[in-house]
Each structure stands twice: as C-alpha cells, then as structure tokens.
C-alpha cells in the first residue's frame, strides 16, 4: 500500500533567513504595540448589542392583573430536549388552569428556544440577556416568581418581516 506523505515546502536554498525574519517580526510587534487602536471591549461599561434572535435567560409573560400568562398546558415540559422544566398544573374555581409550580433549571437548559416556540399563549420566552451569574448552584433554578420578575427584552425567534432571517 502506498504511503501518503505530506510535502512541506521549505524555502529554496539561499532564500531563507533567520535573523532578518526575527527582526522583521520584532518591527511588526512593535508597530502593533504602539498602535493606539485596540480591539478590547471594555465590557461592563461598553455592552455588546445582542442580536434580536439571541436566546438567553427565560422570562414569563404576565397579565395586567399580575397573573402569569401560562395555562399549564404542559407543552413546554414535553418539548424541552433538556428536560429542565418542572410544571405542576392546577385549576381555579372558574376552571382556569394555572401553574402551581413552574421551575426552569437554567443550568440544564440548552437555550434552544423550543419552549417559546411551542407555547400556545406566548407565556414563556427566552430573553436577550446573559448576565445571570450567581454565587450558588441552587440559585440557577428559577421559580415562577423569579421568571415573572425578569424584565429584559424577549427573543424574536421569527421575524415576519424577515422570514428567512437574512
């Protein structure tokens, strides 16, 4: 069987140099060093503008009277590929269904956004937000109240004016 050999082209004899190349490199790095045009983004002061389709921390939409919009249909825990939504539904005297327990584990979530896509009443959303650092792991399980408190902009999963997202 033939052996495959990768041929690396060396410089032609008489055309290579080590010192001049090193000096050239030093000149180049010096030029970059004195170049005042830096690429660093001063993060907490200078925020990146997130894309409209950025999928981050979840947010639960709220009715005008303060109730969550969720009707506990159970679609989002079913569709969730990471199985990180815990839902216990209940029903009030008028027969309206509502979530008794609604928790999302933001650590297990893979931010696919399918919960938002599947929700029939546009209650749960993924949001344009990522600064959700905490000091303990338990704080990453968001309960219903916490999801309702979030006030960051929600994700635009599909823009009707730009259906193919171009």
């Amino acid at each position: 069987m033939a052996v495959q050999v990768k041929v690396m082209r060396r410089p032609e004899p008489g055309r290579s140099s080590y010192l001049r190349a090193a000096l050239k490199g030093m000149a180049l790095t010096f030029k970059h060093m004195v170049n005042p045009d830096k690429v660093t983004q001063q993060y907490p002061e200078e925020q990146t503008e997130l894309h409209p389709r950025w999928r981050g921390t979840h947010r639960m939409e709220v009715h005008a009277d303060g109730r969550p919009k969720c009707v506990a249909c159970g679609l989002c825990p079913t569709v969730c590929p990471a199985n990180c939504i815990r839902l216990v539904g209940g029903e009030d005297d008028q027969g309206n269904r509502y979530p008794v327990v609604y928790e999302i584990d933001e650590f297990r979530c893979i931010f696919c956004g399918m919960c938002q896509e599947v929700c029939p009443v546009e209650a749960i959303h993924v949001g344009r937000h990522f600064e959700n650092a905490e000091y303990s792991r338990s704080r990453f399980v968001y309960d219903l109240d916490r999801l309702m408190e979030q006030d960051h902009p929600t994700t635009l999963l599909w823009d009707p004016s730009d259906p193919r997202s171009e």
Partner: protein, 434 residues
C-alpha cells in the same frame, strides 16, 4: 584641603542598612511591576489593552496578584519528595535575589560623614560571584522538577539543567573579553574602565555583547529559550505541581533573574551608571576619589554631588528598563526553539564563536599593547572596528540560508524515499488526507 573620604564607623553601618533596604525594596517593586509590564506589553502587542481594572490604569494589579497567591490553597502532591519539593522554590529565589547586590547602581553620594558608594556589596570577586550564583539557580529548577514526581516537571528540570550547562559556557566566554579589557572582576572597576576608555564596552566588544545577550536569554529561561517551562509541551514544566506562594516564588525568581541579567548587561556593556561625558566619572584610586588622570598621569579629583548621583541612578534605571523591555518584546515576538535546536545553537554556534572571539580580542589587545597604544580612546576605536567586522561576519553567517536544523539530517529537497509514495501537495487545500 578637604579630601573626600569613604564613609566609616556608625554612619557607614546606617548607610549600609539603608542601601540594603532600598535595593531590596526596589528589586521587589521592579519585579512586581515587570509582571504588570509583561502583561501590558503582551496585550498591546496583540492589540488588546491589558489589565486596567485594579487601581488607575491597572497599577495595583501586582498587589492583587500577590494577595490572590497568598489566599490560594497550598497543594502537595502525595508522591512528591517533601523536603526538596519545599526547598525547590527557595533554592531558585535566593540566588536570583542576592546577585543584584554586587551591581553598582549610581555614582558615589557625598554626605557630611563621607562618601557613600552606591553599591550594596563591592566585593572583589564581583563577576565570579554572579556567575556562581546564577548557575546555582538551576538547582532550584532541577530539584523541584525531580521532587514533584511528575514526568512533565521532571522533563522541565532536565531541560533546565542541560540548557544551563550549554549556555553557561558561552556566557562565561563572552565575559572573558570584558574581563580582558577591564583587567579586574569587580563591577565598579568594569564601570570605571568604561568611563576611562570613553567607550561603553558594547562598542569595542560588540560581538561579545551579542553572545552575552543570547546566552542571557537562555540562562533566564525566557522565550525563545523557555525549554524548562514550554507550556505547549510540558504543561508548565518544572513548576507544574506548585501552587500558591510557592508558584509565585518561581515567578519572582524568574523576573528577578531577568532584572539581574538586564542590570548586568547595562553594567558590563553599557557603562552601568555612566552617562555620556566625563562629568560624572568617579572611582576610588589609592584612597582618593578620582575622575581620571591628566596628561602627566596625575589624578584629577572627582566632584561627587547628590544631583550627579540622582542623574546616574536614572541613567542606570533607564538602561536596565530598556533590557527588561527587550526581554518582554522578544518573548511576544519569537516562537520557541525546538529542544535540539537550542542545543545545537548553543554548542555548534555560540561556543565556537565565543572561543574564536576571545582569541580575536586577545590578539588585538596584544597587538595594541606591542604598538604601545595606551588604554583610551584610540584603543577603543581599534577594538570597535575589529569587533564590528567580527559581528558583521557572525550575523552574515547566521543569516545567510541557515535554518538552525539541530541533530536531524540537513534538509534536502531531493531526498530519496524508499517506499512507494503518493505525494500530496500540502500547499493546495482540499487534497491532503486530514
């Protein structure tokens, strides 16, 4: 007549303690801020802005680093040799810190009690002391690498010793030419001889300087010679297993080695604290502080002043900082040599060149002596020309078509291949197997 006398008695003790404290503090501060400079300059070279959060312009960063290192957990590998594992960092930091003591850093300072020499220890064996201690530093590396009981650390330690041995030779030989001109091994004398000649030794001994510079890079284990650490090959080499302050001590050792090497380059080849002109010359000659000799050979007394001390201190600082900057600049430009390239550069290029150069310099000095050219400007000029020729030849030799190729066979375009081969041109994308 009010003769200038060296300081003595109790004031001398006070001055001594003051100098020790000042030099130690300055060394630690410079080391701390060299780490900051390293991070800043590396950032600028890569078009970033570097640490700028702790304090104005990031100036408190070294302190934050220090606190962080103190608070980190100390780890001790279960299989390590405890004694040498703990002793390793100490063995590497001590030689690195004590060498700075023999470097004169400014012109003598006149005080009401006498003249204070601006050097911590003007010992008569100056350069030998530095050579001895700087090679002791390798024991810390080797022992900590070995005692960690980790193969990467061990390889790092081995490389450190091999590299140290190879470059120590070239370093020592490049110093021989300096010693021949200075005629003495104390660093104050080296500075004085440069003042008297009117030339900094970097000119009459240009090739010696280049050899010293390269070997100093290798001796301090800085890129492009950082074989013992070689992050991409050996994790971090000899200090892989270290954490907390022990790790930090290796860092301080590395940077104080850099500082010492820079101070040495400034002293041996760039006149130390000497500034251009004869106004700042000062040297103890038979109990008198002299600035030189007049035409008849009678000594001219020096006039030390506090402003001269300050100016020369600034001059020395500038030269040292320049070499520190050079270290950092080179580190962030050049890639690391392969190990066999380091060895072949050391033994096949540096050593023979240094040997030949010693011969050339001694022959020139001999001829000049026979022609009865007195030690001074003409003497320096002739040596400058000779060394200049050697340097050009050396650089030409290194530069003209020589890839440093190490132990492997020299590359040939037409090397016969034994097996049937399909050649894949790596230059064309999409064809190669991977």
């Amino acid at each position: 007549m009010d003769m200038l006398q060296p300081i003595s008695g109790v004031p001398a003790l006070v001055a001594m303690v003051g100098k020790v404290l000042a030099v130690f503090t300055a060394t630690m501060l410079v080391v701390a801020y060299t780490t900051l400079a390293e991070r800043k300059i590396s950032a600028w070279i890569q078009d970033r802005s570097g640490p700028n959060r702790v304090g104005p312009w990031g100036l408190l960063q070294p302190i934050a680093d220090g606190i962080k290192n103190f608070l980190k957990e100390e780890t001790m590998p279960a299989t390590a040799n405890r004694f040498w594992f703990v002793a390793g960092p100490m063995l590497s930091i001590t030689p690195a810190l004590v060498t700075i003591a023999v470097v004169p850093f400014a012109a003598p300072l006149p005080t009401p009690w006498g003249v204070v020499d601006m050097i911590v220890a003007d010992i008569p064996i100056g350069i030998l002391y530095i050579l001895a201690l700087s090679s002791l530093g390798v024991y810390g590396l080797v022992l900590s690498g070995w005692s960690s009981n980790n193969k990467y650390a061990f390889l790092g330690g081995l490389r450190a010793s091999a590299q140290m041995v190879s470059y120590e030779v070239a370093l020592g030989l490049s110093l021989v030419s300096v010693l021949m001109l200075a005629g003495n091994v104390t660093l104050t004398q080296v500075v004085w001889q440069q003042q008297e000649m009117g030339f900094w030794f970097a000119f009459p001994l240009s090739l010696g300087f280049i050899l010293f510079l390269i070997s100093a890079f290798a001796e301090t284990n800085r890129l492009p010679f950082d074989m013992p650490e070689a992050e991409s090959e050996l994790v971090t080499g000899y200090h892989t297993e270290y954490s907390s302050m022990k790790f930090s001590m290796f860092f301080i050792a590395e940077y104080s080695h850099m500082l010492t090497a820079s101070a040495l380059m400034a002293t041996l080849f760039f006149g130390g604290w000497d500034l251009p002109g004869a106004w700042d010359n000062a040297f103890w000659h038979e109990g008198m502080l002299i600035a030189g000799f007049d035409a008849a050979g009678a000594p001219i007394l020096a006039q030390p002043a506090w402003w001269k001390t300050l100016l020369t201190l600034a001059g020395f600082g500038l030269k040292t900082v320049f070499f520190l900057f050079l270290y950092i600049w080179v580190r962030w430009t050049l890639p690391r040599f392969r190990y066999d390239q380091v060895m072949s550069l050391g033994w096949k290029v540096m050593l023979p060149t240094a040997l030949a150069y010693v011969m050339v310099v001694s022959a020139t000095v001999l001829v000049l002596d026979l022609l009865e050219v007195s030690y001074g400007f003409t003497f320096g000029l002739v040596l400058t020309l000779v060394s200049g020729l050697c340097t050009v030849a050396f650089l030409f030799f290194l530069d003209s078509d020589r890839i440093i190729s190490g132990a492997s066979v020299p590359y040939r375009q037409d090397r016969p291949v034994r097996m049937p081969v399909t050649q894949v041109d790596a230059g064309a994308p999409g064809l190669s197997g991977d």
